[in-house]
Amino acid sequence: MSTIRVQEAAFDTGAEIARLTEGRPDIGGIGCFVGTVRATRAHPIAALTLEHYPAMTELALARIAAEATARWHLLGCTLIHRVGRLLPGEPIVLVLAAAGHREAALEATAFLIDWLKTKAPFWKKETLVDGAETWVDARDTDDAAAARWA
């Protein structure tokens, strides 16, 4: 069972875990990752604006979820990604992977966020505190992280 959502609103991680595990006592572990808008003194961003390709996004996320479910025999999987304008500290993405044991749950969680970062059609634009806007460049380390699951 996968839950795939793209939304402007914030998500409730506790409620999503409850939804994922409801009535499933065969689950032994849930791995989770929450990505947040990061602002530091060295890189003081004022906001992040997330754009996506609506007709493709949920399809791409569902493919990634299906791949993880098959590889790690997941008992459930949740991918929620926000779009629109987000402020520092706000959550961007939620990944949940439920499995019988922790090894599968945690490996699948890492896989899901690695693939999501390289195989789902989202783009981030940063607004700096001085008002300057820049599209975020893809990181080579993200490609390397995704490649280890090939």
Binding site: E51, Y53, A55, M56, A120, P121, F122, W123, A138
Partner: protein
């Protein structure tokens, strides 16, 4: 792929800075009969005007999807297809 030969149009979508450079997010264009791949379509679009040329100026940073699936420059394109161009994705 569900082509009607009498309507040789494709829908082209642009995202992120490609959209900003082209100036629109979506356009419907007539597909010349000799354009059969995504790579050939890029060359065709880049030759249209300065805005398109600027969007495609660095081909290495342009990614593509044909009918909502990631595709390389050799991917087939035909009438009725939805072809999207964008920079490498940066979600998550």
């Amino acid at each position: 792929m569900s082509a009607c030969l009498s309507d040789p149009h494709v829908t082209v979508l642009y995202f992120a800075w490609l959209r900003e450079r082209v100036g629109v997010g979506e356009e419907r264009i007539s597909l010349p009969a000799d354009i059969r791949t995504a790579g050939a379509l890029i060359e065709h679009l880049a030759a249209r005007d300065a805005a398109h040329a600027a969007a495609f100026e660095n081909r290495q940073t342009v990614r593509c999807a044909v009918n909502q699936d990631f595709a390389g420059p050799d991917a087939a394109v035909g009438p009725g297809d939805e072809i999207a161009f964008f920079p490498p994705v940066t979600g998550g």
